[in-house]
């Protein structure tokens, strides 16, 4: 199963240390492989370090992709996390 969704980074400080770590940790709960893609470069969504290297200031668009048994759910949960500004209060 494959799933894919584009989202806009909303939190003011972008995808930095804490959000990246939250993203990767959440992603690791799923069985599916997960990638984050930006400007044609995709990285492993379960690696904090890799997610960190995607420079994502607020307002930039990323695509979350998943492939595996729980792909749809993974993409949904992760997209919601981004939309929720990673639970951060700006």
């Amino acid at each position: 199963m494959k799933a894919k969704r584009s989202v806009i980074i909303l939190n003011r400080l972008g995808l930095h240390a804490r959000p990246a770590s939250r993203f990767a940790k959440t992603a690791s709960n799923f069985e599916s492989d997960i990638w984050v893609e930006k400007d044609g470069i995709s990285v492993d969504g379960k690696s904090i370090l890799e997610v960190l290297t995607v420079s994502c200031p607020s307002g930039s668009q990323i695509t979350i992709m998943a492939e595996g048994p729980d792909a749809t759910e993974a993409v949904e949960v992760l997209a919601a996390l981004v939309a929720d500004r990673f639970g951060e209060i700006d």
């Binding site: 400080l13 930095h16 959000p19 492993d44 370090l49 890799e50 290297t53 420079s55």
Partner: protein, 591 residues
């Protein structure tokens, strides 16, 4: 004989043979493997990772007490080792490319470098170096070589010369075998430099290309006081340095030995000598050097290292740790003293043409109330764990203090409502560094519990000199009659209202100025911890009344040049021959 100059990272002098630490070029044996060997090779890699994890854990547990603080760096290395970026990538490459683990690691590192290449954020980019350290360890285990700095072959203590020392390497350096070290990379605030200072090993860092300018076994002098390195010194230089080394040891011993004596003049005037600090790692140094507390705790660090703003809880735990560990000594914490441009997060700040005169420090905090509020709440919450005091930077007049106090009052009400404890009588102070604050110090003294004169900015703003502008920096003069008058005025205004007046700029830690500051009647001097022992020594040799008379004399002089001449004369008369050339050399004072 070749002499080089770079950054003095840790004071002291080392004379000995070079031990050139070649950047561990662990030979990567590249081998293609068959499909049937993939699993075995992956297992070999997993085992190597486990072994490295064990090594790092062991290293952490073996850290001597005085450098225990630094275990976090190693802990983060373990996390990186486990991150999918390195770990899973490598396993995948072994399978996909059918290569051995060593080769896969190399391929993985190439890919990782690509990923980091485009990252703009320096903090994140610097993590690549850490990944490199960890990967090298795994490679070494795979190759069956020792990653520990192998010093076992060394019989005589040596000077280590390396391109770079990883925190793990530095932590492993024992004082018995290492006299000093010189590296090509690094800065005064890099972990390696801080560690060297904690261990008391002389070090010079940031010396370009030194590994290709000397050979193992050659004689070398490391002057960690001046940041100088001499390769193959001639007889004359060697004997000069031996003398300097001996004097330094004697001086150091005496100074450290006496550093816990009170800073009291011969006529019984007691002045507090405290330390300026920024990192938690500096606490042991602060205590060892006889500080009677922290007179200036800078809080910018946590804001500059990650792109997200630190949370209130993060700040609270950081402040609490500092206060608790320094208890019963007081800690004066300065609220954020930068502008938005300096924050790693940027906070969407406009670029300013003249940031020194721009939106920074208290002005910035009063505008970014959310950020300020979080910091003040964290400080107040930490205030119950020891003697914590608040210091506000760049106050220019009463209006700002009115706003600050109103905000502080609101926050106290909030905390009370939430049932969170805080010290409601926390002492609040004003950093005197804007000329109008000096001129209205009589008014400001009524608004605050203490003053702390920040000389660096006060001098810069008073003389209208940008210290980093080479064309005018020679005009920067702490002994300008105008500067002296401002210090005197601030002290007098404070004392008239019965509040204490301290100084926390660089001027406070310069021996030549100490008698003058004593004569001014300052109650507290706060400085770089390393400068404390010698400052105390000068204080104990001083007579405050004589210093006060001397200050009166200085205040009547009409030029900075004359003040300086008089000050040097006074210093020579009263502090030599005791305060020998050594002390002065260390300070770079050319007298």
């Amino acid at each position: 004989m070749d002499t080089f100059k770079a950054i003095a990272a840790s004071p002291g002098i080392a004379i000995g043979q070079v031990f050139l630490l070649n950047p561990k070029r662990i030979k990567t044996v590249k081998r293609r493997i068959g499909q049937e060997q993939v699993q075995k090779e992956q297992e070999r890699f997993r085992q190597a990772v486990l072994a490295v994890e064990e090594q790092l854990k062991k290293l952490i547990s073996e850290l001597p007490e005085e450098i225990k603080e630094h275990s976090n760096i190693l802990k983060s290395h373990i996390l990186m080792l486990r991150d999918k970026m390195v770990h899973d990538r490598c396993l995948r490459l072994i399978e996909k490319r059918q290569v051995n683990a060593e080769w896969a690691l190399e391929l993985a590192m190439d890919e990782i470098q690509q990923l980091f290449r485009t990252v703009k954020d320096t903090y994140i980019r610097e993590r690549l170096e850490d990944i490199g350290f960890v990967v090298n360890r795994v490679k070494a285990v795979l190759a069956g070589t020792e990653t520990r700095l192998d010093l076992s072959s060394i019989e005589e203590p040596v000077i280590i010369v390396a391109r770079n020392l990883s925190p793990a390497d530095t932590l492993h350096i024992s004082k018995e075998k290492v006299l000093g070290f010189v590296t090509e990379l690094g800065s005064r605030t890099s972990h390696t430099a801080i560690l060297a200072r904690s261990l008391g090993i002389p070090a010079v860092v940031g010396l370009d290309d030194i590994t290709s300018k000397c050979l193992s076994g050659e004689m070398m002098i490391v002057d960690g006081l001046k940041g100088q390195v001499v390769v193959e010194p001639d007889e004359q230089t060697l004997s000069d340095y031996r003398l300097k080394h001996e004097k330094y040891l004697k001086y150091r011993l005496e100074v450290i030995h006496n550093s816990n004596l009170p800073a009291e003049t011969t006529d019984g005037y007691r002045i507090k000598v405290k330390a300026n600090m920024e990192l938690v790692e500096e606490i042991p140094i602060v205590i060892q050097h006889g500080a009677e507390g922290v007179g200036l705790f800078r809080t910018e660090f946590l804001y500059m290292t990650s792109r997200t703003l630190p949370t209130e809880d993060q700040l609270f735990f950081a402040y609490k740790e500092v206060v608790e560990r320094l208890k019963p000594y007081p800690v004066t914490i300065r609220t954020l003293d930068i502008g938005g441009d300096k924050l790693a997060s940027g906070l969407n700040c406009e670029e300013e043409i003249n940031p020194a005169l721009g939106l920074r420090a208290i002005r910035f905090c009063l505008r970014e109330k959310g950020l300020f509020r979080a910091q003040l709440r964290a400080i107040l919450r930490a205030s119950v764990f020891g003697d914590l005091r608040l210091l506000f930077p760049m106050v220019s007049g009463k209006h700002e203090m009115v706003q600050v106090k109103r905000l502080l009052g609101q926050i106290m009400d909030e905390l009370k409502a939430e049932g969170k404890p805080f010290n409601k009588d926390i002492k609040i102070g004003i950093m005197i560094e804007v000329p109008t604050a000096v001129l209205t110090s009589d008014i400001l003294a009524k608004e605050t519990d203490f003053f702390s004169i920040g000389t660096n900015d006060l001098i810069q703003y008073s003389l209208a000199i940008d210290r980093v502008n080479e064309a005018v920096c020679h005009l920067y003069e702490p002994l300008h009659p105008g500067v002296l008058r401002m210090i005197k005025m601030t002290v007098d205004s404070g004392h008239k209202e019965g509040i204490e007046v301290g100084m926390c700029g660089e001027m406070a830690g310069e021996p030549l100025y100490v008698p003058i500051l004593l004569g001014m009647g300052l109650d507290e001097l706060s400085m770089n911890a390393m400068a404390i022992p010698k400052t105390k020594k000068i204080i104990r040799q001083s007579n405050q009344e004589e210093c006060a008379d001397f200050v009166q004399e200085l205040l009547s002089l009409d030029s900075a040049r004359m003040v300086r001449e008089k000050a040097i004369e006074f210093f020579r008369q009263n502090y030599s021959p005791d305060m020998e050339t050594m002390d002065l050399l260390e300070l770079g004072l050319n007298i």
